[in-house]
């Protein structure tokens, strides 16, 4: 299975070589081998006596993250869809995409996507599942934006990326919680511990996170808005990703975790409500569309909603119907997208208002569309697979029963909504077929003269439609070898389901007839009532919400950044100092660090007080003077005062250094001041000055309090006694400060010398190397 999963990715590495090597041959022909090989491999696994297969390959064993592949009925069904439809889509794309397109890019992305999907459906390890899950989002993003010179493509790609990655990250949260609760990373092992998960306090979060992941991926309400915009992708991509495979990843996820979630009533309530609402909104909106792919996109949304709702019911009929419909939907929707692509390719437009009367010109395409749309509508004809799953859907909706007040209401509302949604489904299906192939032929509006498509393009939809009919006529062919195992994988029970032509004149069949009856009337009179779309715009307003959110996020983050990134050094200093003050003051206050009762103080003498007073006066004077020479001299007073303090406090080396440094500094200031402009009077408003003063005074006060508090609370003896005792014996010197500087802490001195050297070099560079800046100007 490792080979099956990674074969497309490895083959993708060869694509650029192949497309250059044989540029006469369409690259797609080489690619065709890959999905077909996997398909054949998976077909050999099907059969009555199928048993799950498990394979493990180490990846990060220390974190329990390994390539655990588990092939059960569910994985098999999806694997067959991915590889089978993948083969047909590659074949179709060979005729659809011209050789002048960037084929190498296209097939690399497509193969990447294939690996990702195989990985999602075969993985048993939650983290590996997540990795592949995000890879599907990424490759889908690349494929939607394939024609990246178009604005719509870029918009659609970004939208789908944002929404599905948002869901993907939520899913990761849910998976991490599942891992923490159960202590295992294997999905099958989690299912064995379902009681533990249900009873854990995080179960609500798990459910919510997994729902978000599944609903965004599967375009459920209200996250369905990305799917119609993803129709900017090339049609083979729409057929493959956005009808048959990727959008069913969410369905797969729900089905995979169903044995756990079904124990909770909330699973049923949320999933079936969201599904039914999606079904109704999708089919309602589909009638409004004028673009063929737009209709199909909303139709996909509504069909996915129907499958999701059936999984939510959780009854055995419903789950079997869901499984059956996954297969059916993939067949007829894939073929319908290909038909839309053919119509687009041969007439030059996908606008249904310009199309019409193509039946005689394109008879084969029209036949294919006829089967596809009628199967999608669930018309009760025995050779259409859509009818069977639709009937089972009605049956399951009618069989719902409630135990609590919410579920009782749902049991009444859901069947009604199911019928309403199905009526709209019927209407848009008929509109799609009759609008394109019957009616008036508008030759002058078509950019191209239409004629039947080349046979190569028709092969894939013909095979899919054959599938529709064969499954319709001989459902047992897929039931026993495949669907029964899928059902068993989801529910854990052996399937005893059969698909028969005729159940008798049961309520579900009566509902089917009702849908056809009402649907026909509505479809005939569509033009008369379609003005309700001006009153109830549906998901257009959700698009507006999305645009508004994206726009606002950009605007507000810009606004917030602009408030503090002013480019003014003063503002940054103010913000930094205020932040330091607030944080330090809060910590000092919260930890009761303030201690002003200092004892063991040195005595105060008059001489010291005079010097301190002088320094304080001088320091304050620097603020108020408007003469730069005065400012420099006053600063000198502070420095010399400090050196006298050093003398008084028994620090001869410090006093010496401070005197010299202060002298040199004052000299430097005086040197530089000749070249600096005169200090000007402060013209700043009072408010700014008051703010600066407040910051400065509070910071100074904080420092004083910190100084006194830390002096008052001594925790242990200083280590200086050691320096004093060993200065002579170990350092060989009597001046303890100097021994510390060059012997005990000599590294400090080394690097302080380096600092001086760097400063000197820097100054030299600034003064000497000035030619370049002028040249640059």
């Amino acid at each position: 299975m490792l080979t099956a999963v990674f074969l497309p990715l490895i083959f993708a590495l060869l694509i650029p070589l192949l497309s250059k090597w044989k540029d006469k041959i369409h690259t797609g022909w080489f690619v065709l081998i890959v999905p077909f090989t996997v398909f054949v491999y998976l077909v050999t696994k099907t059969g009555k006596d199928f048993a799950p297969i498990r394979e493990t390959y180490q990846w990060i064993p220390s974190l329990n993250i390994n390539f655990d592949f588990y092939l059960d009925g569910l994985g098999l069904l999806f694997g067959l869809l991915i590889s089978g439809i993948g083969t047909l889509v590659v074949l179709y794309s060979i005729f659809y995409l011209h050789k002048s397109e960037q084929l190498a890019h296209f097939y690399v992305y497509l193969l990447m996507f294939m690996t990702a999907m195989f990985g999602v459906v075969f993985s048993d390890n939650v983290y590996v599942l997540y990795t592949f899950w995000e890879l599907t989002s990424l490759s889908s993003f690349l494929l939607i934006g394939f024609w990246n010179h178009r604005k719509g493509s870029r918009y659609g790609a970004l939208k789908s990326m944002l929404i599905t990655v948002f869901g993907g990250l939520s899913l990761l949260g849910g998976l991490i919680l599942l891992h923490l609760v159960t202590g295992t990373t294997s999905i099958q092992a989690m299912i064995e511990q379902k009681e533990v998960i249900i009873q854990s306090p995080y179960f609500g979060w798990i459910l919510a996170f997994v729902f978000l992941g599944a609903f965004t991926k599967s375009a459920q309400f209200p996250f369905h808005i990305w799917l119609p915009d993803a129709m900017e992708a090339p049609t083979p991509v729409s057929a493959y990703l956005h009808s048959a495979t990727m959008v069913k990843a969410g369905i797969f996820l729900i089905a995979r975790f169903l044995p756990i979630f079904v124990l909770s009533e909330w699973f049923m309530i949320v999933t079936s409500t969201v599904g039914i609402v999606t079904l109704c909104i999708g089919s309602y909106m589909a009638v409004r569309q004028t673009d063929l792919k737009g209709i199909l996109a909303y139709s996909t949304i509504s069909q996915l909603g129907m499958i999701m709702a059936m999984l939510g019911y959780g009854t055995s009929t419903a789950i079997f119907a869901a499984v059956f419909h996954i297969l059916n939907h993939a067949t007829f929707k894939g073929s319908l997208f290909m038909v839309a692509g053919i119509v687009d390719h041969e007439t030059g437009t996908r606008d249904i208002r310009k199309l019409g009367g193509l039946m005689t010109l394109m008879p084969i395409t029209a036949t294919l569309a006829l089967f596809g749309t009628f199967s999608m509508a669930g018309v009760p004809l025995p050779f259409l697979n859509g009818f069977y799953s639709k009937e089972m859907f009605f049956q399951a909706s009618l069989d719902l029963s409630g135990t609590s007040s919410i579920t009782e209401v749902l049991a009444i509302v859901i069947p009604i909504l199911a019928v309403v949604g199905s009526i709209f489904t019927f209407v848009y299906s008929m509109y799609l077929f009759f609008g394109t192939f019957r009616g008036e032929y508008k030759e002058q509006e078509l950019p191209k003269k239409p004629h039947e498509a080349p046979i190569g393009m028709l092969i894939s939809p013909i095979i899919l439609i054959t599938g529709v009919v064969v499954i319709g006529l001989y459902a047992q062919l897929v039931n026993e070898p495949l669907l029964a195992h899928t059902y068993e994988a989801i529910t854990g029970e052996i399937s005893n389901k059969t698909i028969s032509y005729w159940h008798g004149f049961i309520p579900a069949f009566q509902l089917s007839l009702l849908v056809v009856g009402v649907g026909t009337v509505l479809a005939m009179t569509r033009k008369r009532w379609s003005s309700i779309y001006n009153v109830l715009p549906g998901s257009l307003s959700l698009n507006r919400v999305y645009d508004w959110l994206v726009d606002r996020t950009e605007k507000y983050s810009m606004k917030i950044t602009n408030t503090y990134m002013t480019g003014s050094l003063k503002t940054y200093a103010q913000l930094l100092l205020s932040a330091i003050f607030i944080i330090s003051a809060a910590i000092l206050f919260l930890t009761n660090g303030i201690n002003l009762e200092a004892t063991d103080l040195a005595p105060i003498t008059i001489a010291e007080l005079l010097i301190v007073g002088m320094m304080a006066f001088a320091a304050i004077a620097t603020v108020f003077t408007n003469s730069r020479i005065a400012a420099i001299l006053i600063l000198g007073v502070v420095g010399y005062g400090l050196s006298i303090l050093f003398v008084l406090y028994r620090a001869p080396d410090l006093a010496l250094t401070q005197l010299i440094v202060e002298t040199v500094t004052v000299a430097l200031f005086l040197l530089a001041f000749m070249h600096l402009p005169e200090l000007r009077k402060r013209t700043e408003p009072l408010r700014t000055r008051a703010l600066n003063a407040t910051i400065a005074i509070s910071f100074g006060a904080l420092m004083t309090i910190v100084a006194i508090s830390s002096f008052a609370s001594k925790w242990f003896e200083p280590i200086s006694q050691y320096f004093l005792e060993t200065s002579k014996s170990l350092g060989g010197g009597k001046n303890v400060v100097n021994v510390i500087l060059v012997d005990m802490r000599g590294l400090d001195t080394l690097f302080e010398i380096a600092v001086l050297a760097l400063a000197a070099l820097g100054i030299y560079g600034m003064i000497k190397l000035r030619g370049n800046s002028k040249e640059a100007k």
């Binding site: 480019g567 003014s568 050094l569 003063k570 103080l601 040195a602 005595p603 105060i604 010291e608 007080l609 301190v612 320094m615 320091a619 304050i620 620097t622 603020v623 400012a631 600063l635 502070v638 406090y649 028994r650 620090a651 410090l654 250094t657 430097l668 530089a672 070249h675 600096l676 402009p677 200090l679 402060r682 600066n692 910051i695 400065a696 100074g700 006060a701 420092m703 004083t704 100084a707 006194i708 002096f711 200086s720 320096f723 004093l724 200065s727 009597k734 001046n735 303890v736 400060v737 510390i740 400090d748 302080e752 600092v755 001086l756 400063a759 000197a760 100054i763 600034m766 003064i767 000035r770």
Partner: protein, 112 residues
């Protein structure tokens, strides 16, 4: 006495920061000088003042002031001297090149 020097250190910080928040380059450098003076005084105060003789060993004397803060301050004085002189020359060059020493006028125009 430690309380008095603590207050002096606080005053040095206050005036230093106030100068730092001004617009003119020279004032900003004066501000950084004042702040480093305050920091040196702060370190010295923390090591206790006047508890003995200068830390130069003399036979028979056992009572000395703490030598470690003095060593730290000595290092710090030299470093702040290096930085101050660098800043001064930088200010000189900047005002010469840009014809202004006003920080607001020295703002880049790409601060959107």
């Amino acid at each position: 006495m430690e309380i008095v020097t603590s207050i002096l250190a606080g005053i040095l910080f206050t005036t230093g920061i106030y100068n730092l928040l001004q617009k003119q380059l020279l004032r900003i450098i004066i501000g950084t000088s004042l702040i480093s003076h305050g920091a040196h005084l702060f370190i010295l105060t923390m090591g206790e003042l006047k508890r003995g003789n200068p830390p130069i060993l003399v036979e028979g004397v056992t009572n000395y002031v703490d030598p470690l803060p003095q060593a730290l301050i000595l290092t710090s004085i030299v470093i702040s001297f290096g930085v101050t002189s660098f800043l001064l020359v930088l200010a000189y060059r900047a005002s010469q090149t840009n014809q202004t020493d006003n920080m607001d006028e020295l703002r880049g125009n790409e601060h959107e």
